[in-house]
Symmetry: C2
Subunit: 201 residues, 2 copies
DNA sequence: CATTTACTTTATTGATCGTTCAAGAAAGGA
DNA sequence: TCCTTTCTTGAACGATCAATAAAGTAAATG
C-alpha cells in the first residue's frame, strides 16, 4: 500500500461493507484482508483486534451520517417534516437497491452484539444519538407546528423505532410493503398531532 | 438420555436459550451439547445440521407464542386493545428481568441471518405472521372502535414495528425509557384513531 | 433366543477462527 | 551513510468450528 496509510482506510471501508452485509461474527478477519488485498501483519499493525476494527467502523459511521443520509435528503426539500420522511425514504432505497440484503448497519450490530463488548455498545449508542439528533433538529425547526406540550425527545425515539422495526420486517419478508405500511402509519401519527395543533390555535 | 427421546427436546430447549441470549452464530454446537449433557453423536442422530436445529427451535417458538405471550396477557384483561398493550408489557418484562440481555428472539434471528438460509427465513416469516395474527384478532374484536376505513393489516404491522424498534433501542441503551417512550407514542397513535371514531359517529 | 431398531459414546476429521511473530522493505532525518 | 520509524510480508500458532465415523448399549420385535 501507499506511503501514507491508505491501508488503514481500505481495511475500514472493506470491513464496513462486509460487516453490513454479513454481520460482524460471520465476517472473518481473513475474508476482510483478502478482499482488501492486505496481509494479516499489516492489519495488526493498525488494529489491536477485530473488535478494535469494529469500533473504527462505527466511528466512521458517525462521520458518514451527514454526507450519506442527511445531505441527500435535505437537498430534496427544505420543509423540516418532509425532510424526516425523505430520510426514511433513503433507507427504503437501500432495501430495494440491495434486494433486502442490507438493513440498518447500526441496528444490526446492536442486536448481534448486545452488550458483549462495552466499547462497541458505547459506539452504537453514539450512532443512535447522532441519528436522533439529526431528526431532533428537524422537529425543532417545525416545533411551532405541534402542540406546545409535545415531547420531542419521545417523538424522535419513536421515529427511530419505526425505522428500525420497518426495515426489519421488510427485510425478513423481502417485501417493501411492510416498510411502506409502517411509514404510512407514522404519517397518521404525525398528522394527528399536526391537525390537533390546528384545532388548538 | 431416557428411552423415548427426551434428548431431542433437551437439545432444542437448550439451544433456544443460548440462541436467544448469544445469537445463532456465536453459539457453538459443542456449547449447546455440554450444557445439555449430550454427545455430538446423539445430536447428529436427531438433527442433520446446526441449521436444522435452528429450524426446530423456530418451530417451537410457533407453539410457545400462545402459552408464553398471549395467555399471560389475555388473563389480565378482556379488553382487546388493552390486551395488545399487555402483550407489549410482557416484552418489557423480559427486558427488565434479564437486564436487557434478551430481546425479541425472532427479530434477533431475522437480523442476524437475513436471507442466508431460505428455510430459516421461512420460519421467521411464519413466526412474524403468527405474532401478527395474535394482534389482528384483538383488533378485530375492537373493530367497531375504529373508523370504518381503517387498514387493520397495516396497523398490525405497525404494532410489530414498534415492538421491535422499541426493544432494540432499550437494549442498546440498557434503559427501559426508550421502550416506554415508544409505547406511549403508540398510545398517542391509537388514541387519535379512537377519538376520530367518536367524532364520526 | 436372535435380530432389528433406536440411541449413546468418544475420538477424530479438516477447515477456519483470531492472533502472533520474525524478518524485511521503504522512506526520512542526521 | 547509518539509524530510526513506519509499514509489509507470509508462515505459523493453538483454539475452536461444524460434522463424521465406528463401536457399543439397551430395548423392542419376531
Amino acid at each position: 500500500m501507499g506511503r501514507k496509510s491508505e491501508a488503514r482506510k481500505k481495511i475500514i471501508d472493506t470491513a464496513r461493507e462486509l460487516f453490513w452485509k454479513n454481520g460482524y461474527g460471520a465476517t472473518g478477519v481473513a475474508q476482510i484482508l483478502s478482499h482488501a488485498g492486505i496481509g494479516s501483519g499489516s492489519f495488526y499493525w493498525f488494529f489491536k483486534s477485530k473488535e478494535d476494527l469494529l469500533v473504527a467502523v462505527l466511528e466512521q459511521y458517525l462521520e458518514l451520517l451527514d454526507s450519506m443520509i442527511a445531505a441527500p435528503a435535505f437537498k430534496k426539500s427544505t420543509d423540516p417534516i418532509e425532510r424526516i420522511f425523505l430520510i426514511l425514504e433513503g433507507y427504503r432505497q437501500i432495501l430495494e437497491e440491495y434486494d433486502f440484503q442490507l438493513g440498518c448497519p447500526i441496528g444490526n450490530i446492536a442486536l448481534e452484539l448486545g452488550d458483549k463488548y462495552e466499547n462497541v455498545r458505547e459506539m452504537t449508542i453514539k450512532n443512535f444519538e447522532n441519528w436522533r439528533n439529526m431528526i431532533k433538529k428537524c422537529l425543532h425547526d417545525a416545533s411551532n407546528s405541534f402542540p406546545p406540550n409535545t415531547d420531542f425527545d419521545a417523538m424522535t425515539v419513536f421515529i427511530l423505532t419505526t425505522m428500525e422495526g420497518a426495515m426489519m420486517q421488510a427485510r425478513a419478508h423481502k417485501d417493501i410493503s411492510y416498510f411502506d405500511d409502517s411509514i404510512v402509519q407514522l404519517r397518521v401519527y404525525f398528522n394527528s398531532l399536526l391537525t390537533k395543533k390546528e384545532f388548538d390555535s
